[in-house]
């Protein structure tokens, strides 16, 4: 009796589904979080009778075979990389990317990581860093006694320094894009790293063809839609319940079978 194991694959899959949904909902207010979805595939089939097998030597064929499936498995948990809404914060070091691209930051071990979360701050040395203190690449240092900083759509960082009314260019933000953004590996802390699935990074200036533009004073919100998630949660929960019903039905049948000999 396969029903028991088939239904258990169904329960496992729905459990994964609920976990993915829970993570989406937990990150609803995470800057630039990208919603994830679990995708399922059916498992192998046992062919007891292949469709189209011959049923007589007169050339008649069975229109349907007997194929018994073995359940379901999680094929992928993929990220939906659509643009999140932009939320105004008024903070000069909050920058949002409108369109494709990632900021490049240097991790503590010297390797590159990528992020769309643009809630930057200044380090004690005046460098533009993420909330975890990772330096945004290429490094941009804001001079001391800077009165105001403006970042334009092309990522050019201009600082107005005390005693000089003309703003000076102090740096240029860069964006990195990938052939397959969804193939990036999430590290947590809003960081992603390159994988063989994402392809190699291509750096470019914001606003050029294929790259997004920069919005100063804004943050990209997560693209999680709470209504969608709750609906998906209800569906997943009901599907889980139904799989457990199959298990109890199969159990009942086996019980009946074992009572036969008594």
């Amino acid at each position: 009796m396969r029903a028991l194991s088939i239904a258990s694959t169904g329960m496992l899959a729905q459990q994964t589904n609920v976990e993915v949904i829970a993570n989406n909902l937990a990150n609803m207010n995470t800057t630039a979080f990208k919603q994830q979805r679990a995708e399922f595939q059916d498992l192998l089939y046992q062919n007891i009778q292949v469709p189209g097998s011959q049923t007589s030597d007169q050339g008649t064929y069975a229109p349907n075979g007997i194929q018994l499936g073995a359940g379901v498995r999680t094929a992928a948990v993929y990220r939906i990389t659509t643009q999140g809404d932009l939320k105004s914060t008024g903070n000069p070091y909050d920058v949002a990317i409108q369109g494709p691209g990632f900021f490049r930051v240097q991790q503590a071990d010297g390797t590159d990581a990528y992020s769309r979360s643009g809630n930057f701050s200044l380090s004690p040395q005046g460098q533009l860093v993420t909330q975890d203190g990772l330096i945004v690449q290429p490094g941009i240092a804001i001079p001391q006694n800077t009165l105001s900083v403006s970042i334009n759509a092309q990522g050019q960082v201009n600082a107005t320094i005390a005693g000089n009314s003309t703003p000076q260019t102090v740096g240029q933000l860069e964006l990195t894009r990938f052939p397959n953004e969804a193939g990036l590996q999430a590290l947590g802390s809003n960081l992603y790293i390159e994988t063989p699935g994402s392809g190699s990074p291509q750096a470019g200036v914001p606003g050029s063809v294929g790259y997004g533009t920069i919005q100063q004073g804004f943050l990209e919100t997560s693209n999680v839609n709470s209504v969608d998630e709750i609906t998906a949660l209800i569906t997943a929960q009901r599907a889980y319940e139904m799989n457990s019903k199959v298990i109890s039905a199969a159990d009942q049948m086996l019980q009946d079978a074992s009572r036969l000999g008594s």
Partner: protein, 246 residues
């Protein structure tokens, strides 16, 4: 041998198979493009030789599984917003190139791989009119028109191939949402592809659960019947055995 036990046994085996198929449907209630299966049973009639002192012939009918029928009805459309999630509204299948050759699927979840090719979650390339479809980051936002035309910033890039077959029911499920067939692929008269949506499974939970209860109850009834027959036999042996030997 007493046939009634064997008839019950055939029914019980059929019920086991039916519950397996239902379990697989329910397990795949969230699998995109999954098509539900149902079992079909037929009567198998065996002619019995009349016992001594009886006239005429008797026949006994057993249950035998004839096939699993695939329900190819359209699954519901779920909006996902992902640019490479495609759903076919109506007939047809997407073609993907696997190491074993072309396979067909209704599961329209695709994404890009490291080379910019549109692939499914196993990494098999979606087939366009000219083979695999490659997208470069310079193409910007990709639009896929209802007829399958893939276009980017620079215009038309490729066209998604939709294959239809004379006998869809004869296609063999391969697992991983793929079907194989050796039939000649045709182009359906109307192609309607929806971008940013997935075709859900066409499993109807209410139907499956009620069917499951039905199978379970039928099984229970047969089990009781079998038990009664056994009791009857035991009683007979006990009572006949208790008769005084003359």
């Amino acid at each position: 041998m007493d046939n009634s036990l064997l008839v019950s046994l055939s029914q019980q085996l059929a019920a086991f198979r039916a519950i397996d198929v239902i379990a697989n449907n329910i397990a795949n209630a969230s699998t995109p493009g999954y098509k539900r299966e149902s079992t079909k049973f037929e009567e198998y009639i065996a002619q019995m030789h009349p016992a001594e002192g009886e006239t005429g012939s008797q026949s006994v009918s057993f249950v035998k599984d004839a096939g699993t029928m695939r329900d190819l009805a359209q699954g519901h459309m779920t909006q996902t917003g992902a640019p490479f999630d495609l759903a076919i509204n109506g007939k047809g299948f997407f073609a993907v190139q696997t190491p074993q050759g072309l396979r067909y699927t209704r599961d329209g979840h695709f994404s890009l791989d490291a080379n910019g090719q549109i692939v499914n979650s196993s990494g098999y390339a979606l087939q366009g009119d000219g083979g695999a479809i490659t997208i470069t980051p310079d193409d910007g936002d990709i639009r896929i028109a209802p007829d399958g035309t893939v276009s980017g910033r620079t215009g038309q890039l490729a066209k998604v191939r939709v294959a239809d077959f004379a006998d869809e029911y004869a296609m063999v499920k391969q697992g991983a949402n793929l079907y194989s067939t050796d039939q000649q692929a045709q182009t359906p008269a109307v192609i309607d592809i929806r971008q940013g949506a997935l075709e859900g499974s066409n499993v109807q939970p209410v139907l499956e659960i009620s069917h499951m209860i039905e199978v379970m109850r039928a099984y229970e009834a047969t089990a009781t019947l079998t038990k009664n027959q056994q009791d009857m036999k035991r009683d007979a042996v006990e009572k006949l055995g208790a008769m005084p030997v003359s």
